[in-house]
Amino acid sequence: MRLALQDLCLRHPVLRGHPTDLAKCGGLALQRSGHASPVVAGVDHDGVTATAEIEWLSQAVSVLEVLDSNRVTEDGAEAVAIAYANSKAGWVVKRRLQRGEFADWLLRSETGWLALEVSGTISGEPLARLEQEKRQVARCTLPAGRLAIVVAFDRPLIVAGGP
């Protein structure tokens, strides 16, 4: 599976004009963890493992000095997660959700709707974080599928699963 972060806006037009460049954050988060494009990330989706090659346009890491580190991690994770969801099952971002919906994004495909909750880490145990995110997205009451994704940039590893 190939996750081309630079194509994010092409595949998800809603993301154009987004206040933060998710793709750029994704690249920065990976570079911050010492990776260069492209990098092979592990994937664990509900216990099923795979790999995904993540590529991005190289970023000037000096930018990391002025950006909020947590923002970079979370926005970068969103970029990777959205790219993964799109690559895996063709999910396209419909719109962002407000925090009270217990999910970050609403995506759609020919098969229906998906509420996506995303988080990123640069260290620590991503599977434990995934459980937290799954519990969070489980509270989403929308008539949609629910998926939680955690991106661990240090590995890099993408863990995903539904509640």
């Binding site: 037009p13 004009g17 206040p19 959700l97 407000q98 009270g100 919906e101 008539p143």
Partner: protein, 147 residues
């Protein structure tokens, strides 16, 4: 609320706009910027526009309606939130889950206010204030009333 009826946005455009506005409002909220209130008001406007062009029974329409109420509360425009909620709850096709989400939004707001105004909450008048706002919003009088 300022309506720009001369500009008709498509649903996709509004989706993009509301996504941008939500992100911006959340960032401003996180840094406790005084501009956060206005940012949420912008979210409210886009959500309200989305609600106007999406049916209540559809997921996008449901999200927009709850989103409008949430955004109004986040902007501190409680009279507006009550008005929007009254309107949306009057739409029969609105799914029960969305109705519950609207109520939950108000409850969260009340809980937040109760945390900030514990004596008022203990007196039981915090809930009465919402009712009062609802009545006052239907009967505008000479005295400007706090939203």
């Amino acid at each position: 609320m300022t309506e720009t009826h001369s500009i008709a946005f498509s649903e996709d455009e509004l989706d993009a706009l509301v996504s941008i506005a939500i992100r911006r409002a959340e960032i401003l909220d996180d840094i406790q910027s005084p501009a956060a209130s206005e940012a949420w008001q912008e979210v409210m406007l886009y959500e309200e526009r989305l609600a106007m062009i999406t049916p209540p029974a559809e997921i996008a329409g449901g999200v927009a309606r709850v989103g409008a109420v949430r955004a109004a509360l986040a902007a501190g425009r409680r009279m507006e939130a009550v008005r929007l909620a009254s309107r949306y709850l009057a739409e029969e096709p609105l799914p029960p889950e969305r109705r519950a989400a609207i109520e939950r939004a108000f409850q969260e707001d009340r809980d937040r206010l109760a945390g900030r105004f514990p004596a008022l909450a203990r007196s039981g008048r915090l809930a009465e204030l919402d009712e009062w706002r609802a009545i006052a919003s239907r009967n505008p009088r000479v005295f400007p009333l706090a939203a």
